[in-house]
């Protein structure tokens, strides 16, 4: 699986915190300006809608990836999106809460449940954590399906979420309940998620997170509380998921239990794997490509799922570093990542792979 990441050259030793290059900052700034001005440059409603979905999915994929860095395959994320969405919908519909109150309340709700779930599950590892998180996803969906039907509407979902308000921005007014309003909401979500996660993984604590996926016992032996760090990144991802859910409720104005089920959770995993787990650009790229691809495939009806399946199998078998590893393969004709990516590439695979297989090789 593309083992060829070069070691950091001695002159540029980093703690995983990359000094942002001037080029990097410029590129990021140009992209941000372009994204911000896209609606006023005449993006049509369809394009704006696809873009919103794309931003939303990128945010989810990055949040999933952040927890994956510590070696946990976390399927609870979509459950927390559901909790955020249902909190917003219920408070706005039944309690007539304004958006400014409902959004933070949803984040808090996700965090509160997240603390409980985190305490209960984050000591589990590997397949056990994966399956228990999977079970929590199902429990949450079924809970919204069959409990408190008066409040949550059962299988009929919650309809009639009030539209988000019109905001005065710099003298102009932005109608949040329009395609461009949703565009900005999701863009904000994505920028917040990516910035926050990027700051975390490129800080010293990011190094700790990556270390956890490789050896818990060694980390503990030098005083790192693996539980504490997993909890912190899990809650970061969970809070962002709650926020995403809240925005989801305001975008769709209805929420159904099936919106937060296995399919969506699995898609987030797919974005991440197809994009590549070696770098934050991986989940971003994967989510973008698959969202656009899905939009395009939609016209072929049921072929959509077939195509997803084929893409997955092909990527898993032939492009194991994910899409981010492709440019490097082409330029070097091997499984190596490009130098620029390599320096920042954190090849993270599950503990089972990294430590067990590697130790076995060592012992031979």
């Amino acid at each position: 699986m593309c083992e060829g990441v070069e070691a950091t050259p001695p002159g540029k030793l980093t703690a995983g915190s990359l000094p942002l290059s001037a080029l990097g900052i410029t590129v990021a700034a140009v992209i941000c300006v372009a994204l911000l001005s896209f609606p006023s440059l005449g993006g049509n409603n369809y394009q704006l809608r696809v873009a919103s979905t794309l931003f939303f999915n990128v945010a989810l994929a990055v949040g999933f990836w952040a927890v994956y860095l510590t070696g946990l395959l976390n399927m609870t994320q979509i459950a927390f999106v559901g909790i955020g969405a249902y909190t917003t919908a219920a408070l706005a519909i039944h309690g007539h809460w304004s958006m400014w109150a409902a959004v933070p309340a949803s984040v808090v709700a996700a965090l509160v449940v997240g603390v409980v779930i985190g305490y209960a599950t984050l000591r589990l590892r590997g397949s056990y954590f994966f399956l228990v998180s999977f079970a929590f996803l199902e429990v949450t969906r079924l809970f919204f399906t069959s409990f408190f039907k008066d409040q949550f509407g059962g299988t009929n979902g919650l309809t009639g979420v009030p539209r988000p308000p019109v905001l005065p921005v710099l003298g102009a007014s932005v109608n949040l309940a329009s395609p461009s309003g949703y565009y900005y909401l999701t863009l904000g979500l994505m920028l917040l998620t990516v910035t926050l996660i990027w700051r975390i993984v490129s800080s010293r604590n990011g190094l700790v997170l990556r270390a956890l996926s490789q050896s818990d016992s060694l980390a503990e032996s030098v005083g790192i509380s693996s539980f504490r760090y997993r909890m912190l990144i899990f809650l970061t991802s969970t809070g962002l998921a709650g926020l995403a859910g809240s925005i989801y409720a305001y975008m769709n104005l209805v929420v159904f239990p099936t919106d937060f089920g296995l399919t969506r959770a699995v898609l987030v995993v797919v974005y991440t794997v197809v994009g590549g787990v070696g770098h934050i650009l991986g989940p971003m790229l994967g989510a973008s490509v698959i969202t656009v691809l899905g939009e395009w495939l939609r016209r072929f009806g049921t072929l959509e799922q077939l195509a997803y399946g084929l893409v997955l199998v092909v990527v898993m078998l032939f492009v194991q570093g994910g899409l981010v590893s492709v440019p490097g393969r082409i330029t070097k004709g091997s499984g190596r990542l490009p130098r620029s990516v390599a320096r920042t590439a954190w090849k993270v695979r599950l503990q089972a792979m990294s430590s067990a297989a590697w130790r076995r090789r060592r012992e031979e």
């Binding site: 800080s203 270390a211 030098v222 005083g223 912190l232 430590s355 060592r362």
Partner: protein, 260 residues
């Protein structure tokens, strides 16, 4: 720095099996104590109990006045008691330097929120950690290997790197679990020299080792375990001449000699 590590009559049972029976151990700063015994004598269990990986069924573990009995490993490490592992255990996909920098986590831990801010103090501290990690690598003879991925190092270098990581945690007491296993003679000497250097600085070292030659030459005092009990304790010479130790180690020979 003058607080000893004390294990008081530690007992550990697994179901009906008694792995440790009332074992006591004292390790003073500035000495190397060897812990030896045949396979299954309970050496690893004792190490795991002291390091917090396992809880003792009975007994206490203390570092100076701090009671560490049953505390989780990261708390034990924070108290100044750091262990290494018998099997190679490294952050295999990170560079040697990153490995050592992670070792210094206790000293330089960064607040989760604070580390998100682009503060100058963060950057300064980062440079300090890196310089210190490089110095430790230098001390262990690994300066050249700093940028290499840990899993790509030779076994000897990996053992040294394990030691470097433990040192970065600035331990008061170091528990080494067979640090020489699988090493060639020359590499063994290299590791032993590093260990001797540490003791000169006031560290206490508990050396669990199969290699008798190394233990005899390096340790001031040796504790011998057999079947979960301490059967002898004393200077290398005392232990070597102890009747029971000879029985345990040379038992088969004696039996042969006794039979007609």
């Amino acid at each position: 720095m003058s607080s000893p590590l004390v294990a008081e009559s530690v007992t550990r049972r697994f179901g009906g099996l008694v792995a440790l029976q009332q074992v006591s151990l004292r390790l003073n700063p500035g000495e190397i104590v060897g812990l030896i015994g045949p396979n299954g004598a309970g050496k690893s269990t004792l190490l795991n109990v002291v390091a917090g990986v396992m809880k003792p069924t009975h007994g206490r573990v203390k570092l100076g006045d701090t009671d560490l009995t049953g505390k989780p490993p990261h708390v034990v490490a924070a108290a100044g008691l750091v262990r290494t592992f018998q099997a190679v255990n490294l952050f295999g996909r990170l560079s040697a330097l990153d490995n050592v920098m992670l070792g210094s986590h206790l000293r330089f831990r960064a607040g989760f929120l604070r580390s998100l801010l682009p503060l100058n103090s963060n950057r300064r501290q980062e440079r300090e950690i890196r310089d210190r990690a490089l110095a430790i690598l230098e001390e262990c003879g690994l300066r050249e290997q700093a940028p290499a991925e840990a899993q790509a190092l030779s076994l000897g270098h990996q053992r040294l790197l394990s030691l470097a990581i433990a040192l970065a945690a600035e331990p008061k007491m170091l528990l080494l679990d067979e640090p020489l296993a699988g090493l060639a003679r020359g590499d063994q000497e290299e590791v032993l020299n590093v260990i001797r250097g540490l003791v000169g600085k006031g560290l206490g070292v508990l050396l669990v080792e199969h290699n008798m030659r190394a233990v005899m030459s390096a340790c001031g005092r040796i504790v011998v375990l057999n079947q979960g009990r301490t059967i002898a304790e004393g200077s290398p010479a005392q232990v070597a001449s102890d009747q029971r130790v000879r029985e345990v180690y040379l038992g088969t020979k004696r039996e042969k000699a006794a039979s007609p």
